[in-house]
Symmetry: C2
DNA sequence: CCCCAACATAACCAACCTGTTACGTAACCG
DNA sequence: CGGTTACGTAACAGGTTGGTTATGTTGGGG
């Protein structure tokens, strides 16, 4: 569900704003190139994914980031992290060892 | 684009299989509850996102994971990792404090 | 050779976004 | 109070998605 929520750029923008400070729905809407009701629904998706919190303050709704929800993504990534790190290590080794030789060969 | 590709469960299953070993399109299709052409298109999405590689071997297409593409996700997460770690630290502190209190209580 | 196996692409369809405008509602403000 | 502000939800339009069946295409094996 979280990865699904993160797939949309508008929603990622919202998270980026909330990373710096909580904001009202109106402030978030002003920061996005879409109309208010669209933002409202994005906020609902984020809320249902556990990525944001809402708190009512008079007629304002103050949204704030709930970064713990991202742990799920981090844990998913964990199962792959070793792999790309190995690959990058291998690449670096490869570069260090053969870059010049291969370049000369390829350049013929 | 990568996050978009990761949003679909079938595609995540494909990645999970490829994490262990490369596989042909047919093997991947057998592992999924959907028909072959659907898998073909998922594979295309994954390829376009840079998440998998294909290599032709006779009439087989051998797909393999390209974990470097996940670095992008990791880097995106990086901007949030500190936040949830702080939150978790606070939680742990809280727990540790509560534990002590409870221990003292129990010890009375 | 011919045919089958392994795959991709095409064409199609239902379902689901993502945006819109229109409307409803709760709380403050004059 | 009555209006306005700050939202949310409803209803709707379109494009995209995720699945399907049908139709190539390419390479190998009998």
């Amino acid at each position: 569900m979280v990865l699904q929520a993160l797939a949309d750029p508008s929603r990622r923008t919202v998270l980026e704003i909330l990373r710096d400070h909580p904001a009202t729905a109106g402030e978030l809407a002003d920061a996005l190139p879409i109309a208010r009701p669209g933002v409202s629904r994005h906020l609902r998706v984020l809320r249902e994914a556990g990525l944001v919190d809402v708190r009512a303050e008079a007629q304002r709704r103050i949204y704030s980031l709930r970064p713990e929800a991202l742990v799920e993504v981090d844990e998913w990534l964990e199962g792959y992290r070793a792999l790309w790190q190995n690959r990058l290590d291998a690449l670096h080794t490869e570069i260090a060892r053969g870059k010049i030789a291969r370049r000369e060969k390829a350049g013929q």
